[in-house]
Amino acid sequence: MPAISLYYRLPALHSYKRLKGESHMYYIQLLINGISLGSVYSVIAIGFTLIFSILKFSNFSHGGVMVVSAYFGYVLSTKLNLGFFPTLLMVSVFGALVAVVVQYIGFDRIRKSDGNVMLLFVSSATLGTLLQNIIVITFSSTYYSYPKFFTTSFVKIGNFTVGVTDLMMLVFSTICIVVLMYVLYKTRLGISIRALSMDANTTQLMGINASFVIAVTFMISGCLAGVAGMFLGISYSLYPQLNALVFKGMIASILGGLGNISGALYGGLLLGVAEVFLTNFVGASLMPVFTFLFSIIFLLVRPQGISGKFTLEKV
């Protein structure tokens, strides 16, 4: 065995061949990749920000719900041999149920006793860890993956390739967002949710049942967590640490303007595209450093986020 120096430095040999040739095509492909990565972040961020908008705390149990749903979908699709759509349906229902249970165990009491918002955060982070560890205990002895739902794994659109799971993710996140927007802006329930997010006290005075609306909001958020979890499971395989992605959701929702639904969508896409382009130009190794600098600069330039409105605090 030859002696080798362990501090041997790995140089980053980046190739910029693409720059000479058909560069614009390459960048469009990068953009597509960024958007498909971003759509994952968006779905997480929307579920995350939905809760933030009404209860004003960062709901980290969202990641836990995602993981549990992802494994539930795995059990359904392998043990019961359910197809893609039935599984997706069941998983989103399951996610909604878990989220409601989580809200009941973790947040209901604190919310009613009007405690510190940070208590809600601590409760959610703990519940997230709890859910993750339940999965670790039940499933952690080996790796699992979903069965193959789609016969082809990628489609060609012109010269560009898009993965089928990415495409499905994009389609479903768009559907989710459209449905959500419809519910929020066109139905009585949605108006209640939005009213609650603006002014909880007045809303309750106007005869809206806050507990019910909050429970429903958690169900919607849980649904999104279920969908996100299942797609993550399909494209990224199952592992209990999947809930770490909730941090990306948090970053995306802050970039988008905390508590703003459409902002979370844009924030997710922005984060996804930024990560892919940073990986291309500075390499994955330094990507987190530049993401950090990017987010600081972004917040300094636009402190209210992409879609956030700047409101002066009432004195």
């Binding site: 362990l6 501090y7 430095r9 790995l10 960062s58 980290f60 165990i105 973790g106 009491r109 604190i110 006793s113 405690g115 510190n116 940070m118 208590l119 955060f121 601590v122 409760s123 982070a125 703990t126 519940l127 860890t129 709890l130 560890n133 339940i134 670790v136 205990i137 941090f247 948090m250 970053i251 802050i254 905390l258 190794s285 330094l286 990507m287 987190p288 450093v289 993401t291 950090f292 600098l293 987010s295 600081i296 917040l299 300094l300 402190p303 605090e313 004195v315």
Partner: protein
């Protein structure tokens, strides 16, 4: 009983970090999600110096604190005036950036392989000494005008500013001090584990500290300390059950947060008892009844 000494030493190290979390979250209401990265900075400063030169512990301690404070200044400056939630985002991103940097500069930091062979210089007595000094620091800080200003800032920023308190400066001051203390705990960690690696300082560590502070009582230094002690000992006591102990820990946090929102100690401090007695013994303040 070297085992108990080892465990207690590791608890003192964590307690120092929890004290800094108390300063940030309990006293001033700053929500830092990446506080563990300051511990990482302290640990790495110590690791890099102690493995290259035979320097006394004090030097590393001071350098770690300085490094932590400088980084905190750098991170805090741009975001301290922004909305409260943004500091969580920026510190979270900072944590990931630090890990990436450490992994990248592997000719200085050893990259993901970490740094081995740090001399073991911390024993329980040193740890306790530093812990007690830190507690004294925090107690004196809390009982001075700075402590009152911090609480004022936490309760109501606008009202605090109307009292002439420079809110941004107070927050930055606390953030920098907390960065220094956390980095110091990192230095202690490096000296007690003799090995540091970037992955040990993830966001879960910070979340653990946050829950510890809340369980003890967000407004009580004694509470935070006691709950730090409990959460240090409890996993050791439950060591026989690998999965049970995490779940039990989670359940305790959820129970406390739900049923004792003020934490175990509420706003009580151990020192308050003496103060109350003293107040009862001395003359009562003269009461001005008004013109009735």
């Amino acid at each position: 009983m070297s085992y108990y000494i080892t465990v207690l030493t590791s608890i003192t190290v964590d307690l120092v970090a929890i004290l800094s979390m108390y300063l940030l979250l309990g006293l001033t209401g700053i929500f830092s999600m990446g506080q563990a990265s300051f511990m990482c900075i302290g640990a790495y400063v110590t690791g890099m110096i102690a493995t290259r030169a035979d320097v006394p512990m004090g030097v590393c301690l001071v350098l770690s604190i300085l490094a932590g404070m400088i980084c905190a200044l750098f991170v805090g400056m741009p975001c301290i005036k922004l909305r409260r939630d943004y500091i969580a985002l920026v510190t979270l991103g900072f944590g990931e950036a630090i890990v990436a940097l450490l992994n990248n500069m592997n000719n200085i930091t050893g990259g993901a392989l970490g740094i081995t062979g740090i001399p073991r210089k911390i024993n329980l007595y040193w740890g306790l000494l530093i812990l007690i000094l830190t507690i004294l620091f925090v107690v004196n800080f809390k009982n001075s005008k700075f402590g009152r200003q911090c609480i004022a800032v936490k309760n109501d920023e606008i009202s605090a500013a109307a009292m002439g308190i420079n809110v941004a400066r107070v927050k930055l001051l606390v953030f920098v001090i907390a960065g220094g203390i956390t980095a110091m705990s990192g230095c202690l960690l490096a000296y007690s584990t003799t090995y540091v690696e970037p992955l040990a300082f993830g966001v879960n560590r910070t979340i653990n500290w946050i829950s510890t502070v809340f369980v003890g009582g967000i407004n009580s230094l004694s509470g935070s300390t006691v709950s730090g002690l409990i959460f240090g000992i409890l996993p050791e006591a439950l060591r026989f059950s690998s999965s049970g102990r995490i779940i039990l820990q989670c359940l305790i946090v959820i129970l406390v947060v739900n049923f004792l929102p003020q934490g175990l100690f509420g706003e009580n401090e151990v020192g308050d008892i003496f103060k109350k007695i003293k107040r009862k013994l001395t003359k009562k303040p003269t009461v001005w009844e008004g013109e009735k």
